[in-house]
Amino acid sequence: MKALELAQQLRARFGDVLSAPLEFRGEITLEIADAERVPEICEFAKKELGFDYLVDITSIDNYGDDPRFTLVYHLYGYGHLQSLRLKASVSEEKAEAPTVIKVWRAADWHEREIYDMMGVRFRGHPDLRRILMWDGYPYFPLRKDFPLAGRPSDLPEVAFTEPAPLAGGPFVTISGGKDTISREPRVRIPETDALETNARLERRRDIKEAHGQAYGPGPIEPRKP
C-alpha cells in the first residue's frame, strides 16, 4: 500500500481536521487543523494504519506568523514500509499541545527536546523537563528571536579566569628576549622573583663559561605562589 492511499484512509476518518495530502519529493504531508486532535489521529494511524514507528517529532518557529509554532511528526510503518508526515500548528499564547507518549513511548525524549529548544509544552507528559540545556536555563534557544551568539545566563562566561594565552598567559614566548631562556615561557617567573631568576641565569652563564660547554635550562622550578 502506498503512502498516499494510507493518507487518504486517514483523511476519510478525520476529514474534518485534515488537509488534503501534499506531495513533495515523494513524501506525503498532512496538516492537522487542531493540535488537540493529534493523539487521537496518531492512535488511529498506529493501530489501524500500521504506523508503528515514530521516527521523529520536531518543531518549527514561524516567527512573525500566527500561529507561531508548527509541530512535525514523522511516522513510519515496519509492515508497509511507508512514511507519513503530520503537521500541527500551535499558537504562541498557548504554546501547548497534548502529548503522544501514550501512542509511542519514543515521543518522550522528542517532546522534551521540543520543550527545551522551542518552549512548546506537552500536556500529559509525565516528565517534561529540559533535556539538552540545564534545568533553570531561562531561554528557548531554537526560537528565531534567540540570537545565534546566545545570551548571558547564570553560568560564568568562561571556564577560567587566568589571563588568556595571548594576553600574556603561560604559553606564549616573549619576543625580544636576549636568549632562549628569557624568551621561553616555561622558565618565566613572576616579576617578584625576577631578582632570583637573574641570579640563577648568572650562575648558569658562569658554569657555562667555566666548563666551556653548553648548559641546558635545567630542571624547571615550580612557580611560587
Binding site: 512535525v72 515496519y78 519514543a106 522528542h110 533535556i131
Partner: protein, 426 residues
Amino acid sequence: MANVQDIQIKDAAARSAQLASDLSRAPAGGEELGDVTGEKMVLNMGPSHPSTHGVLRIVLELDGEIITKATPDIGYLHRGDEKIAENMTYTQFIPYTDRLDYLAPLANNVAYALAVEKLLGIDKQLPPRCQFIRVICCELARISAHLLGLGSFSMDVGALTVFLHTFTEREKIYNLCESLTGARFTTSYTRIGGLARDLPPGWVEQCRKFLKEVVVNIDETETLLTRNRIFVDRSQGVGVIPKDVAIDYGMTGPNLRGSGVEHDLRKTQPYLVYDQLQFDVPVGTAGDSYDRYLLRIEEMRQSVRILHQCLDKLPGGPVNVPDLKIVLPPKDRVLTRMEELIHHFINVTQGINAPPGEIYFGHENPKGELGFYINSKGGGTPYRLKIRSPSFVNLSVLPWLLRGHMISDIVAILGSFDFVMGECDR
C-alpha cells in the same frame, strides 16, 4: 511492594536475589518500586566515566547492587548544531556533520549531502561513480565505527586486548581516509551534488589490501570474544529488549535488529546504489547485549562484501553533477571565464538556491537511522534543520531497560548500545 516476606529475608545476597526475581517478573515500566529495605542509595554515574563513552550521565537509584531507577542526563556535549545550521549555507554545514557521530564522519557527510540533494531534487541524477564512492565511504565508516564499538564494549567488560586489536585496523581506515580526504578524522568529504575530490591514484589497491587484512582481524576478534566464557556470561541475557519495546521506543540500527526486527534502510528504502549490491542483513533473536555484539561482527563482514563489489564495479566518469549552480566550477575556468566566475561567486556567497519545501531523509548510519529534516523557504540556507540522531533515540530506552539490572550490567549494556554523545547531544 514492601511486604513482610521481603523484610524477613535476612541474608543480603538472598535479599538481592529475591528483589532481582521480583523485578524480572515485573520489569520496567510497571508501578514505582518502593524502598523495600529502606536502604536505597542514589549514585551518580558520569558524565566522565570510562563506560559512558563520552559525557553521558546517569543518576542511579540503587537497592544494594540492583538498579531500581535510572535517569539519564544528557546535553553535556550540546553545541547547538541545529541553530548553527539555520545561519549558514548548506555547503558550510558539511564540516559540522563530521562532529555528529565522530566515529563515522564519512557516513554523516554522505547522509547530509543526500538530504540536501533530495531537497534540490537531484538525488537520482548523481553520477554513478559518485554514488559508488559514497557507498564505499559509508561502509568504511561502518567498519570503523563497529570496530571501535566492539573494542570499547569488550574493554568495558574486561577484555582490553580486543580494543588494541581493533584499533590497529581502524588506524588503517584512518590512513585510507587521509589519502582520500586529506584528513583522518574530520573528513568533510562530500559536497552538495558530488564529492570534494575523486579517488587518489592507487587508492583502490590500498583499499583492497585493507579489506584482505580486516577480515583476518574480524575473525581474530571473534575468536577472542564469541566463545569467551567471561564475555558471554557478562553479555548473554543482559539488557534484553523485546521486539515491541524496541519499536515502541523508536530504536534503530543494530540495536533494533538485535531485537529481531529485520529493517535496514539500505534494503527497505534503497538509496545510492545499494539496490545493485548483494548483501545480507543480520538479525538477532534474543535482543540481548550478546546478540547486538554478534550483529556488529556480521555487519562488518557484510560491509567488506559490499566494499569488494563496489571496488569491482567502480565506474569511471565524473564525480559531480554537471550543474554549475550546485557544484563549484573548476578553478581554472573560474579564473578565465565570466559565467563560471559568477556561478562560483553566487555559490560561495549566497549558497545553493534550494526550492521551498520540506524533506526528511533517513540514512542507515553505523549507529542507526541518521535523519535530516530540512525545511526550506527558498534561498541558500535552511529555515529549520533537524538532526534525528540514532544515539539520542536509542538512549531513551535506558530508564526502561536499566531497572532491575545489576550495576555492573550497565557497562555491558552501554557498551552493546554503541552510542556517541556528539550525535546524541548535537
